[in-house]
């Protein structure tokens, strides 16, 4: 088969519950620090779930480079901007001074719908009730709402804002596959570069779901941990006593470039994105298949795409949500994908520390994989106390481990059965 252009990572940026940049996020992950706390964003005292992993800033200090967008730049857009700024700076791009050729520069974002605040939805509902009593009915929906309030619900808004800020006129894409969204947005961006549609892509994801409706909604699904009295111990992937995931929030962006483009401009190459795979479970809306077939399929495609055998993978940043079902299903999938090598491969879940960032987890966890490649350290799975017979891999329990990592795999699996896997390698390795 024709060999495609190689894709490398030249910049990374992150805003997570562990820190406002990649360095502090990485330091927190290596230290095994939990960022799970009682919810600060709203009064959750009446909710069955009162804990989350929130970004430690009520106002996100993102530079708004274009006037007039204050209204549409909500929390998730602002987190995306902040992460994108860091990524572009590391890659050596300076907005307004030196940027990629606009038509060869694209943006790919993984995110969900923006949702109106529960308070706003309720206010609208109360207006509707009052209007109905006055015989005005649905016209009440139009009162008090600004046109741009509706734009905030459009998933593509983040990509639009980033394109506008940085003058990207190439491919502009958004993936919305729940928890798989940003793994797919990064994977699709790499494919775009491979096939020649762009030289540089700003790729990543953002999500901010710590608000009343989503906390209530995921509580009703029974998906969230209810360890309200011990927040820091709540996210415990692969531990036998795990009882659900902890909702998080954040953003992660990578600058991807073709190898030739990066070399031509003398950019520092942080890693190579060598493989991408995705699949559907075709099983159930809320459940993972016990045999991990979709996860296996996604990892298998990524290995095939990378041209690697399972033994090349030294570390897997697992999806590892801390739900009973995901963690055993993923373990089964890893065993099937890696065969005997599964017993020798290090597997950890950084969600044990920063919670589940939903649409942005794939990009942030890919960044942590790059850090593991570069630093020779694998972040741990904290709160791992009770081995589970259904989860029997090396989960790097509780303490980070120094280790040579040649290739790292990042798994992301979403509600509804969407799966995505990225494989990253140290630069300059032959395959």
């Amino acid at each position: 088969m024709k060999r495609h252009r190689r894709v490398v990572v030249t910049g990374m940026g992150a805003v997570t519950p562990l820190g406002m940049d990649v360095a502090s996020t990485w330091a927190g992950a290596v230290a095994g620090r939990s960022a799970v706390r009682r919810i600060q964003a709203f009064d959750a005292s009446g909710f069955p779930v009162q804990i989350a992993a929130e970004v430690d800033a009520r106002e996100i200090p993102a530079p708004l480079r274009v006037a007039g967008l204050e209204r549409v730049a909500d929390r998730k857009v602002r987190m995306a901007i902040l992460a994108a700024e860091e990524a572009l700076a590391q890659a050596g791009w300076r907005p307004g001074v030196e940027m990629p050729r606009p038509e060869r520069f694209g943006v790919s974002v993984g995110t969900e719908n923006g949702r109106p605040l529960l308070e706003d939805v309720a206010a609208t509902y109360y207006r509707l009730q009052a209007a109905e009593q006055a015989g005005l009915a649905t016209a009440a929906l139009l009162e008090g709402a600004h046109p741009l309030d509706f734009v905030k619900t459009v998933p593509h808004l983040t990509a639009t804002v980033l394109s506008l800020f940085y003058g990207a006129q190439g491919p502009s894409s958004t993936c919305s596959t729940a928890c798989t969204s940003s793994a797919q947005s990064v994977g699709e961006a790499a494919l775009e570069i491979r096939r020649g549609g762009a030289d540089v892509m700003l790729a990543g994801g953002t999500d901010a779901l710590v608000e009343g409706f989503m906390v209530a909604g995921f509580s009703l699904l029974g998906a969230l941990s209810t360890r309200n009295d011990a927040p820091e111990a709540a996210s415990r992937p692969f531990d036998r006593e795990r009882d659900g995931f902890v909702l998080g929030e954040g953003a992660g962006f990578l600058v991807l470039e073709s190898l030739e483009h990066a070399e031509a401009r003398g950019a520092e190459i942080l890693a190579e994105l060598v493989g991408y795979g995705c699949s559907s479970n075709a099983y159930r809306i809320t459940d993972s298949p016990p045999d991990g077939r979709g996860a296996w399929q996604s990892m298998r495609w990524a290995l095939r795409d990378a041209g690697l055998n399972p033994e090349s993978i030294d570390y897997i940043n697992a999806h590892g949500t801390s739900t009973q079902m995901n963690d055993s299903s993923e373990t089964a999938g890893i065993r099937r994908a890696l065969g005997a090598h599964a017993d020798r491969c290090m597997v950890s879940s950084t969600k044990s520390m920063m919670g589940h960032l939903v649409a942005s987890c794939g990009a942030v966890e890919a960044i942590l994989c790059v850090q593991a490649l570069r630093e020779g350290v694998v972040p741990p799975t904290i709160n791992y106390e009770h081995p589970d017979p259904a989860c029997d891999l090396d989960y790097v329990p509780n303490v980070a481990r120094e280790a040579e990592v040649r290739y790292a795999m990042s798994n992301s699996f979403g509600f509804g059965g969407s799966n995505g896997t990225l494989i990253l390698g140290r630069p300059g390795q032959g395959r």
């Binding site: 959750a44 009446g46 919305s176 409706f213 075709a282």
Partner: protein
């Protein structure tokens, strides 16, 4: 597209014009009708009509009919359109093991729209938790109102749920992606699937989009953005799916094909003026798309103005200018048959045009256009229309 030739072997479409390509092609005139599903009487008269699908029945394609209660309108439209496409490709999605290939080798790419949740769904919980100051009391919501929120409501608002329902009911385990760039989502999903087939990542892909936004929130959103309104577009809904195959694969199983996917072009024109139709941008993607066709060959460019009279006039002028420079070709604007259907908009109009060619035996190339109010446009070129058999 580099790599293997990719052809369309199945067409599934559902819109106000009908269910299935033959019914859609036979519909001479399609007019918006009074909105169904919610009380629109409080809106201005021009917002009380829409291009809605009159009879939506996904049950024949469902494995478990009780799942209907957790399927959004988008998901139902998607399942019907996808099922029709699979049937049209000579397969029976209702039979276990319908795919004569491994399920993990069939990809699913879908353009999806907004699922922000409906105010009426959360209303009862909000009502139960209204505080003394007239605003919602979140503490009360957690302790009292939460039981009135439908248990699966958070899931239903995830945009990829339509993808999930289609993959589960049609047993598709291959590559699966939900793209959400709004108005261009459908064309972009088909293009991504075609790339996947062309590059040998799969032999068969089901690709398309569906959107069903004719509800209280959708009407309000469209009105606010200026898409609909006095003299504007009329809201629509529908779904369109293609079965894509490597040409060699289709011919090896004796399957006729409808057209070849020749080219995809996508441009972004970042703008602060969200919601303003950019005829220049649409014209530029059309020009780039046409550059791949033989000069003077017959072609019809299917517009993206969604039946909005003002946009349609600007678009026609821009496209006629492009076609004049090229040396010929026709402009078709089919938005007046389907309305503004969000993520499915451009693809629905292209599917409408392809259904028409199939019924009439027309063989000119088709350039389908799509545009999103967030400032991006796409074009998809179908050539060799009607050459692959029937």
């Amino acid at each position: 597209m580099d790599g293997r030739e990719v052809v369309i072997t199945g067409l599934g479409v559902i819109s106000a014009a009908g269910v299935g390509w033959a019914e859609v092609a036979a519909a001479q005139a399609v007019a918006p009708r009074a909105v169904e599903g919610f009380d629109a009487s409080g809106f201005p008269a021009w917002a009380q009509v829409a291009y809605q699908v009159p009879s939506l029945r996904p049950q024949p394609y469902m494995k478990r009919r009780k799942d209907l209660k957790v399927m959004s309108r988008d998901a139902q439209l998607a399942l019907v359109a996808a099922g029709l496409a699979v049937e049209d490709a000579g397969l029976d999605p209702r039979e276990p093991g319908a795919w004569p290939f491994a399920a993990e080798d069939v990809a699913l790419y879908m353009g999806v729209g907004l699922e922000p949740g409906d105010v009426t769904e959360l209303g009862p919980a909000a009502a139960a938790a209204r505080g003394a100051d007239g605003r919602i009391d979140l503490e009360a919501l957690g302790s009292v109102g939460i039981d009135r929120i439908p248990p699966l409501s958070a899931l239903v608002t995830l945009p990829n749920m339509a993808l999930a329902h289609v993959s589960i009911n049609l047993e598709l385990m291959g590559r699966g992606e939900a793209l959400s760039p709004w108005g261009t989502a459908g064309l972009d999903a088909v293009a991504a699937a075609a790339e996947s087939v062309a590059r040998g990542q799969c032999d068969v892909a089901l690709a398309g989009a569906a959107d069903g936004d004719v509800d209280l929130s959708g009407v309000s959103r469209a009105l606010r953005l200026g898409i609909t309104g006095e003299g504007g577009a009329v809201l629509g809904e529908g779904g369109a799916f293609f079965v894509l195959e490597a040409r060699q694969h289709a011919e090896a199983r004796g399957q006729r094909w409808l057209a070849r996917l020749a080219r995809h072009v996508a441009h972004a024109a970042p703008t602060r003026q969200l919601g303003v139709f950019d005829a220049g941008l649409v014209g530029s993607v059309a020009e780039a798309a046409l550059a791949g066709l033989a000069p003077g060959s017959p072609v019809a460019v299917v517009g993206a103005s969604s039946g909005h009279p003002g946009w349609a006039a600007q678009e026609r002028a821009a496209l006629e200018d492009v076609l004049e420079r090229r040396g010929g070709g026709a402009v078709e604007q089919r938005g007046g048959r389907v309305g503004w259907a969000g993520a499915a908009s451009g693809l629905l109009e292209l599917a409408d045009a392809l259904a028409s060619r199939r019924a009439s035996g027309g063989r000119e190339s088709l350039v389908g256009l799509a545009w999103a109010p967030t400032g991006q446009a796409s074009a998809l070129v179908l050539d060799r229309v009607g050459e692959g058999g029937r």
